[in-house]
Symmetry: C2
Subunit: 143 residues, 2 copies
DNA sequence: CTGCATCCTTTGGGATACTG
DNA sequence: CAGTATCCCAAAGGATGCAG
């Protein structure tokens, strides 16, 4: 019996959060979610890819703008993309041209995560995350 | 300009995922989400607390059941709860009795995350996470 | 341009023992 | 019961340089 949001050992296996029957599931989705899109960049990569395919370098530059300034190194980006491709979240298309060109896009398993992303954006639109992390919004840096 | 799901530098600042205006937000919610509930247990803790307050030990035991078998050590659980309490996600109430009793419950900032949790559970109810992680559902371990 | 190889630092998580 | 103190190990992330 899983302990998702129902920690009795003999209940009907219905999630109290959603009303859905979870009796056929063995692993808590919250734990799995972290294992699948954990790490510092995976969620953000899904985010920037939802509009359409992007190239390796474009993804890297996108992460700088929405993140906290520091650029991702190619080694890390490469590993994140490979992980996600192997899990079936992304599709990788290589074009046989010079210079090399590779496009990454959302695979069905990645697209299935978009409703979660939407909910995260809705939460962020209220400013909740900036309150929690105490991001200053003064419009310019002090000093 | 943030690169959430709109990576032009001069757009209207509207999220293409939700249609919401994000021009007043500087940090990508996806990045912030990871910073706030990253780590192996925080999301799961929100999950088990959504029904009501639980004690330190009860939370620990809940994590074992929905996770992958291994119990969380008191040191880690203590740190996770302290982190989340300091960020305002949880409320901690200490009862002056012997033996000691402490209850943790969701604070408003933690409750604001529940819609995201619900969406994760919905996603999990389809079995998507077990497909991705290749969890066997044969009902018994092979051999 | 895309990515791998090396090396290094930081962080997260676990084992064990102990205290108010 | 609810933690804290030490010590340790593994994994994640970063810097730099090089290659197809």
């Amino acid at each position: 019996m899983m302990a998702l949001d129902n920690d009795t050992d003999h209940g009907p296996g219905v999630s109290l959060l959603t009303g859905l029957d979870m009796s056929h599931i063995t692993l808590c989705p919250a734990i799995a979610f972290g294992k699948i899109v954990g790490g510092r960049y995976k969620l953000h990569i899904l985010c920037v890819l939802h509009r359409g395919p992007l190239r390796f370098g474009e993804i890297g530059r996108s992460l700088v703008k929405g993140g906290l300034g520091k650029p991702i190194t190619p080694r890390i980006l490469s590993r994140e993309l490979k992980d996600m491709t192997e899990l079936g979240l992304l599709h990788r298309q290589e074009f046989l041209v010079v210079p090399k060109k590779v496009e990454y896009s959302l695979a069905p398993r990645g697209r299935a995560l978009l409703p979660i992303l939407s909910e995260i954006v809705r939460w962020g639109a209220t400013g909740a995350h900036e309150d929690i992390l105490e991001i200053r919004k003064t419009g310019h840096w002090p000093r």
